[in-house]
Each structure stands twice: as structure tokens, then as C-alpha cells.
């Protein structure tokens, strides 16, 4: 059967493992486009994972409604977490780097996400509902493209729509133009009458919500259930992805699936009796993140073209 071909299996898994990365990276991309670096993605994803799982366990109704509600809960909880970062960095002008790290410590594997999971007693329980693969148009068994593109779950298809929407928003709408202006030159945007503070708040919150959905993908689709620190570094890989993608949504999609492939490689090769220590496979996504970042960074001029010019710099009208 052609669909059992190892490359096809890896590609299919690459898309499903890449989806949470894509959500988180798109969110981080929007926040960074407004000039705010948020290093708290890992923490926000873990909050999304735990609150999404809590949502699906506690909210009744048919499967689709319960899952939809869980995703909304995850997005709102992670956006609320992002609000802390927005307040500290935008209103109080704190260092974006330290505040983002604080967010990951606060919400992360030894922090609030773990606290919520233990208080609500979520560990070690099977999910009541999970996102199953949808057989689109009944073509899930079509050769090659069937298993890769037409047999994924609903969130993956949502993420594709999201990439298109983000592209349209950034390059074809007035708020998108304003957003880019805020990230490149907040002083100019301010003089044009754009509310810099509002734009930054809104996009940091959207970034949080998308990271939360990415986190919920782990607890509702990849490994339904909840574990301490279950995203294991995906949030950091998402931040690296934004750099790798030169702050462009369509490249974030490519990057997310590339890293999804590194994660799935581990999994697939092990299942196929390739005898190497499990740690070698497990460390692959982390090592490849470093390798890819080095490759992207050496083209220094190209990186300068991508990064929003005011990324990481607080905007203070009186001091401009």
C-alpha cells in the first residue's frame, strides 16, 4: 500500500505535530509585528493545555460543543496570561525579555499550569472527547495526498484558514498596515493618529490566545490527557520559528511543518525498529532549532529585513 510509505507517514505526522507550532508562531508573529517580544509562549501554551483539558472534562454537551468550548477556554485563559506581559511591558515599560521569562516561570511546568492541573486533579485521566482526524470528502485514502492533507483534524484546517487570514490582514487591510507601522516606527504611527498602546495590547492578547489554542492541541489531539510540562519546549521552538520565517505567516507554515517533521521523525523511526537511543531522536527538534537558527542568522542582512525595527523597545510618547 503506497500510503504506508515511510515518507508519507512522516509527512502526515509532520503536519499534525506542526499544527500547534503554527498556531503559537502565528500568535507570536502578530505580537512581534506590533513591537512586543513575548518570551512567555511556552508558559501560555501550558496554560492553554491545562485549561483546554479542564474545559473538555467539565463542559458537557455533544462532542463538538465540548471541544469548541474547551478551545475557547484555552484561548481566553492564555490571553489572560498574556495580559500580564502586556501590562508590564506596554504600560509599565518593563524589559520585554525579563517579563517574558517571568511569564514562562509563572505559568510553566513548575508554575501555575502545574498548580491548576494538580488542584483540579486532571493528571492521568483520559480525555472525554478529542479532536479526531476528519476524512475530508471521503478522500482520506486517496494515494499520497489523502493521508497527508485530507486526513487531519479540524484544528489543522482552521490553522490553514488562519494563515490566509493573517496574510490578508497584514498586507491587505488598513489595521494590518497600522500594525506594521506600529512595529516599525511607533512614533510615526502615533503621529498618524494610530493608538500604539491599543494595537500592542490587542496583538499581545491575540498572540496569547493563539498560543493557548496551540497548547490545547497537545492536550486534546496529540496526546489527549494532561501531563506537567507536556508541551516540552514547543513554545520556544515557536519563537525560533518566527525568526526563521522572517516574520512572514506563509513561511511560518513551512517552518512549522519542517519542525513537525523533526518531531515525527523520532516517533516514526522508533516505531520502525531503527535502533538508536530514544534520547537521540528526542533531542532532534532542539538541535535542529539551533542549526536552523544559525543558518538563518548568518544571512545577517536578510534578518534585518525581517525584524520589526522597534521590536523589544518600549514606546514612550514623551521620550520619542
Amino acid at each position: 500500500m503506497i500510503n504506508d510509505n515511510i515518507l508519507i507517514v512522516i509527512a502526515a505526522y509532520a503536519i499534525s505535530y506542526g499544527t500547534p507550532l503554527l498556531f503559537a508562531a502565528l500568535g507570536e508573529l502578530l505580537a512581534e509585528r506590533s513591537g512586543v517580544l513575548n518570551l512567555g509562549v511556552e508558559g501560555m501554551m501550558l496554560i492553554g493545555a491545562v485549561s483546554g483539558f479542564w474545559g473538555v472534562q467539565t463542559i458537557g454537551g455533544p462532542s463538538w460543543l465540548s471541544l469548541l468550548a474547551a478551545i475557547v477556554v484555552a484561548a481566553l485563559a492564555a490571553a489572560a496570561t498574556a495580559l500580564i506581559h502586556a501590562f508590564l511591558t506596554i504600560s509599565l515599560r518593563a524589559s520585554q525579555i525579563v517579563s517574558g521569562l517571568a511569564l514562562t516561570i509563572f505559568a510553566g511546568a513548575t508554575g501555575l499550569s502545574s498548580y491548576i492541573g494538580h488542584v483540579a486533579n486532571l493528571g492521568g485521566k483520559p480525555a472525554r472527547h478529542e479532536f479526531d482526524a476528519i476524512n475530508v470528502l471521503g478522500l482520506g485514502n486517496a494515494p499520497v495526498i489523502g493521508p497527508i492533507l485530507l486526513h487531519q483534524n479540524a484544528l489543522t484546517y482552521v490553522s490553514w484558514v488562519l494563515v490566509v487570514l493573517t496574510l490578508f490582514y497584514l498586507y491587505r487591510t488598513r489595521p494590518g498596515l497600522h500594525l506594521r507601522a506600529v512595529g516599525e516606527s511607533p512614533g510615526t504611527a502615533d503621529a498618524m493618529g494610530v493608538n500604539v498602546t491599543l494595537y500592542r495590547y490587542v496583538h499581545v492578547l491575540i498572540g496569547g490566545a493563539l498560543a493557548g489554542i496551540g497548547g490545547a492541541f497537545f492536550s486534546l489531539a496529540i496526546t489527549p490527557g494532561w501531563l506537567d510540562g507536556m508541551t516540552s519546549g514547543a513554545g520556544w521552538i515557536a519563537i525560533a520559528l518566527v525568526i526563521f520565517a522572517f516574520w512572514r505567516p506563509e513561511l511560518a507554515l513551512v517552518g512549522a511543518y519542517l519542525f513537525g517533521a523533526f518531531s515525527s521523525l523520532a516517533f516514526t523511526l522508533q516505531a520502525r525498529q531503527v535502533h538508536l537511543p530514544p534520547e537521540v531522536f528526542a533531542s532532534l527538534p532542539y538541535l535542529m532549532t539551533i542549526v536552523v537558527l544559525v543558518l538563518v542568522s548568518t544571512g545577517w542582512a536578510r534578518r534585518r529585513l525581517g525584524a520589526p525595527a522597534s521590536l523589544g523597545v518600549p514606546y514612550v510618547r514623551e521620550e520619542r
Binding site: 515599560r93 518593563a94 524589559s95 509563572f106 513548575t110 502545574s114 533531542s283 532542539y286 544559525v294 542568522s297
Partner: protein, 376 residues
């Protein structure tokens, strides 16, 4: 009308008030979280303080937890002062533990006077070498050191697991049948246990003494040497450093290595003072590396303040380990650490700006950027 103005000079009284206020603010915020989740905040805080500081033997256990925090705090302070963001203290600590336990096993028949210095040196070197990787990448390929140093934490954790759980490595105990079925590391000889000093009923581990020495060394480097001066210039203004002809790249690698050496020493002290065996799960659960960032930020990167803050947060970690259970859910320690850091960041605003209610803006010469020592 609320007006925020830049201060010309940092207010000195605030340098003490901000950390103290941060701890109080974090206590209040965490009490709200405890109340929402149905726990009695006063009882929880009582247990926390008792378990961390006042119960019999608690202070000695707290100092054991404070030792790695002190060293990872110094690691963060050393790098952050130069605006190099080494988030990899966690992994550098693991490597220090691997190095120190390796040399400890190799020298098992030697006297303490040989083993212990060898463990210290091994911890320093392995930690520095691991930190030099993101340092070199930062200096010579301009790769973001935040992400590379962090990615290496995961790799270091996996390396430790490999050495103990998935290989027949030098570190793993294979002497008995049980040890082959239930993997664990080789225990070090008795001579490899670091000495401790009892003062008035409180046991001070050797690692803490070395950490205090390291704090003094870091302070000397940054205030008394040309190297430290140049590193500070780079931290304050990279352009100025460039025009002054300071070799930025070498300094980046050197500061990263220095930072990693501190964290590696922290790992060596975990082996020598406390665990006496390479224990991947225990070291990963403690997450001392990330907590070091909180320590350094709260101490406003001052090496001597790092000592005090690490003992305070060490009490928190220690109480967290000993109390964990139904009435003291896991995750509370990290939540508290995060809250402390948020409050410290908000407090930075007060150090650098003054807040005025009403009135007209002050006229006169425009305030310029004051000398920034903090992290915000």
C-alpha cells in the same frame, strides 16, 4: 492626571524597598490564587515559612537548596549585566553535575583533598564549555542566545537521562542485578562528600561557601578589572564599545563561559553536597536554573544581594519539596517565583521613574538615561 517622569538619579531607598515590596506583593497575589482554588492562604503561608525557615533543621535544608540557586543566580547576573541573555543555566548545571560526578567516580580511591578540588574544577569546566556553545554562536554567527541556550537545556536533560537510563555508561551502576533492572547512577565514595560547617545548629554546606566566594569574584571582576569594565560598557552601549575598540565577540564568549562556570559549579555542589550520585530526575524536578533568573532579577544583578535573595528563595524551594501533597499542590513554588518577578519588574518602574499626581510637568533640563543597573 497621573504623570510618569524619568528620574535623574536612582532613588537609593527604593533599591531596598523594591525587593521587599516585591516579596510582599507576591505574597498578596498568591494568597488570592490560593483563595480562589479553595486553600487557606494564611495556613499555607504558615506551613511555607515553617518548612522553609523555622522548623528544626529547616534552615540547614534551606541552605542546601540555596546553594545551587546562589550559583545559578550568579550565572544569570554575570551574563545579564552585559545584556547577554543566558537562559541555559539549567543545562549548564546538569553538565556540571555530569562532569563532577564523572571525575568523582574516576577518583574513587583518592583522598578527599584530591577528589573535591577535582570535582569543583570539573564542574566549572563542563559548565563553561556547555555555555560557550551559545556564546560562540552569538558572537560569530549572531544567533539569538536566548533560544540556543534554552534549547541546550533540553538536550542536556536528555543527555543525563541517556547516561543513566538508556545506556551502559560510565555513570551508571551495573554492579548488581537490581541496579541493572532499575537504572541508577554510581554512588560516589565517602571521601567525595563535600564537608560542611556547623555554626550554632545551622549546617553550612561547602558549596554555599564556594558560592559566596564566587559572588565576591564576580563583584571584583565587574568593579575592579578592565575585563569587567569593558563588559559593562558593552552591556550599556554596544555602539560605544565598538567605537572604543573593545573586542565584543571575545567578551561575549568569555562572559557566557563565566556564567556557565558558575552554573556548572552549582551542579558540582548538588553532587558533592547533597545527592552524591547523578540523579537526572531529581535535578530536573528542582529546576534551579530557571529560578536563578528570578534570584538575579530580584537582587538587581548585585552579586552580594544574590546571596541574600538565594537564601530567601531557597527556603521557598525547600519548603516546596518537603510539603508537596494535597494541602500544598505542586506548581505553587514556580507560581510564587513568577509573581515575585512580576512585582520586581513593576517595582523597577518606581526606581527609574517618578509618578506624580496632578501638577504641571517639571521644566528645566531634559532628563537623560540614568546609569541602569537593573534588568528592566
Amino acid at each position: 492626571m497621573i504623570r510618569i517622569e524619568r528620574r535623574l538619579t536612582e532613588a537609593r531607598w527604593l533599591l531596598v524597598a523594591v525587593p521587599v515590596g516585591s516579596l510582599i506583593g507576591a505574597a498578596v497575589l498568591s494568597s488570592i490564587i490560593l483563595l480562589i482554588t479553595g486553600h487557606d492562604p494564611i495556613a499555607t503561608w504558615g506551613r511555607l515559612l515553617d518548612g522553609g525557615f523555622f522548623a528544626s533543621g529547616a534552615m540547614s535544608a534551606t541552605l542546601v537548596s540555596a546553594t545551587p540557586l546562589l550559583l545559578t543566580g550568579l550565572a544569570a547576573a554575570a551574563a545579564f549585566r552585559m545584556q547577554i541573555w543566558n537562559i541555559g543555566a539549567e543545562g549548564q548545571l546538569y553538565l556540571g553535575a555530569i562532569g563532577a560526578s564523572g571525575i568523582g567516580i574516576a577518583l574513587k580511591d583518592q583522598p578527599a583533598l584530591v577528589i573535591i578540588p577535582a570535582m569543583v574544577v570539573a564542574g566549572l569546566i563542563t559548565g563553561a564549555a556547555w555555555a560557550a556553545i551559545p556564546g560562540v554562536l552569538r558572537a560569530y554567527t549572531r544567533t539569538n542566545e536566548i533560544i540556543t541556550s534554552l534549547m541546550l537545556n533540553y538536550v542536556a536533560g536528555l543527555l543525563m537521562s541517556y547516561l543513566i537510563f538508556d545506556s551502559h555508561s560510565y555513570w551508571r551502576d551495573l554492579s548488581t542485578f537490581t541496579a541493572r533492572v532499575f537504572p541508577q547512577g554510581k554512588y560516589l565514595s565517602v571521601a567525595a562528600s563535600w564537608p560542611s560547617f556547623a555554626i550554632g545548629g545551622i549546617v553550612i554546606p561547602l558549596g554555599l561557601v564556594l558560592g559566596a566566594l564566587a559572588a565576591a569574584v564576580l563583584w571584583l571582576i565587574y568593579t575592579g578589572t578592565r575585563f569587567g569594565f569593558e563588559a559593562r560598557v558593552i552591556g550599556d552601549s554596544r555602539a560605544a564599545a565598538h567605537y572604543a575598540g573593545i573586542r565584543t565577540r571575545r567578551k561575549v564568549v568569555a562572559v557566557m563561559a563565566l556564567s556557565g562556570a558558575f552554573a556548572g559549579l552549582g551542579g558540582a555542589s548538588e553532587i558533592g553536597d547533597f545527592r552524591h550520585v547523578l540523579d537526572p530526575r531529581g535535578l530536573q524536578q528542582a529546576s534551579y536554573g530557571y529560578a536563578g533568573i528570578v534570584v538575579a532579577a530580584l537582587a538587581r544583578l548585585n552579586p552580594f544581594a544574590v546571596i541574600v535573595v538565594s537564601i530567601l528563595l531557597g527556603g521557598l524551594s525547600n519548603a516546596g519539596f518537603s510539603l508537596q501533597g494535597a494541602t500544598f499542590p505542586a506548581g505553587l513554588v514556580g507560581t510564587l517565583q513568577g509573581l515575585i518577578l512580576f512585582c520586581a519588574l513593576a517595582g523597577e518602574l518606581l526606581v527609574r521613574y517618578r509618578i506624580r499626581l496632578g501638577g504641571r510637568a517639571r521644566t528645566g533640563p531634559q532628563a537623560t538615561e540614568p546609569n541602569r543597573v537593573g534588568v528592566a
